[in-house]
Symmetry: C2
Subunit: 278 residues, 2 copies
Amino acid sequence: MNLFGFLGPKGTFSEIALKTYLKNEDVDVECMGYASIDKLFLALDSKRCSAIIVPVENSVEGSVTTVVDHLIKLNDTFITAEFVLKIEHNLMVKDESKSITDIISHYQPIAQCRHYLESNYPDVDLNNAESTAKAADFVSDYNGDKVYGVIGHESLAKRYGFNIMDRNINDSKENVTRFFIISRKPTEPTGNDKSTIVFSTMKDQSGSLANVLNEFQSKSINLTHISSRPTKTSLGEYLFYIDCEGHFQDEILSEVLKLVEKKTSYIKCLGSYKKGGK
Amino acid sequence: MNLFGFLGPKGTFSEIALKTYLKNEDVDVECMGYASIDKLFLALDSKRCSAIIVPVENSVEGSVTTVVDHLIKLNDTFITAEFVLKIEHNLMVKDESKSITDIISHYQPIAQCRHYLESNYPDVDLNNAESTAKAADFVSDYNGDKVYGVIGHESLAKRYGFNIMDRNINDSKENVTRFFIISRKPTEPTGNDKSTIVFSTMKDQSGSLANVLNEFQSKSINLTHISSRPTKTSLGEYLFYIDCEGHFQDEILSEVLKLVEKKTSYIKCLGSYKKGGK
């Protein structure tokens, strides 16, 4: 049986994304939760997992930087699919008769509900946990004087016997998270693909980034995402991540990549995959 | 007396950056810690503070997204200075005779010490607090069974009577954080300035970003930083933040900005300021 890894424990948005994604795939896999993003990539690298699902970008909070920083280190593994999940956050409590003194969740949901929290709970303490499910687990076991509210998917209420105080509390109702599936075998072109590429530019930042982007523009290849991450060696030196339309085996894109290679100090195609839609 | 706000409580890297910055400025101000980045910007907007200092980018972890998302909302306030602080993290405990079971800090220091923690404390639980000083404050008051290690600036050890277990534990020894000072009066050119500009491109992402960058390139204006943030309305729509050399009152830069305006759907210069050096 193949093992498919996600950021656990059970009840995280990663698990829900994986289960929803697998419904439309004809594969026989067992799903396994790992305690952190680092442990998830380690399970893939050490071949304990044949594939993993990771959150890469949220429409409100942006890149999940821990994940993005792992992508450049992919070793004989490839982004092979993308999946977009609509996110609805709920405020849940153990006992709805008491007033909330503290709120706990992963930092991304807290950021995604910032205005709601400022308006409705301006004076409560905000606490960060490593995942929404770990926050729920903490509150379930907690027996002290504080009264915790948990922010997360409604399935956590069922799992832990919590009451839902308020539904869909995210500030933007267009809140979606994009996930990547990473596995061992690169995909074949479907005619409706995207590719993710990472590169660093030559020294003179201004001209060199424009030079790279101009190569894509000259062949009318649309970019659907661009972000930068520090190289971690010196302030002001960046790696650029772009998603573009096309498959790396397509003639036009592979031609562009050859031209781009001459204008970058580093370039790697992290995978091509069928467009997942919003 | 003018009030200068920072992300408190006392002992955060923000307070150390502010104190170090003020040593070279001939101003008479009182420094005041605020509990969160949101409260800090609110204190500036409501004129309770005349200026604030905020961390904007770390050389290892990248943009401080909460801060960057506030910059676009600056209202009659401007980035007026930058300051770069070298960051050294330390592992501190209350009682060095006991083995650490848990580590607590802000998520950025934990991310900046990831490899150190994996090598030396692979099995301890990692916990996030809203600031390094708030983590120290929590541990100082804690009386349970867990043994917490705190990651932060060495001044916290003195303030809370902690022992320093290990010094300079950050994975990259080139770890620096860049701060912005935001206040009410735009600066005059010094001849050695940088400017921060935010814009969104026209619909077709590929061509339009290249078109904007080409305007800077054509006048040989160097870009020292570029990053993207979601517009928060829809996945795949971004605001771009760039830092470039020059002052917005300089003839060349103001000419370029006029040309760029025609190629963007939104553009705003957030301020010009003397280069702070690495």
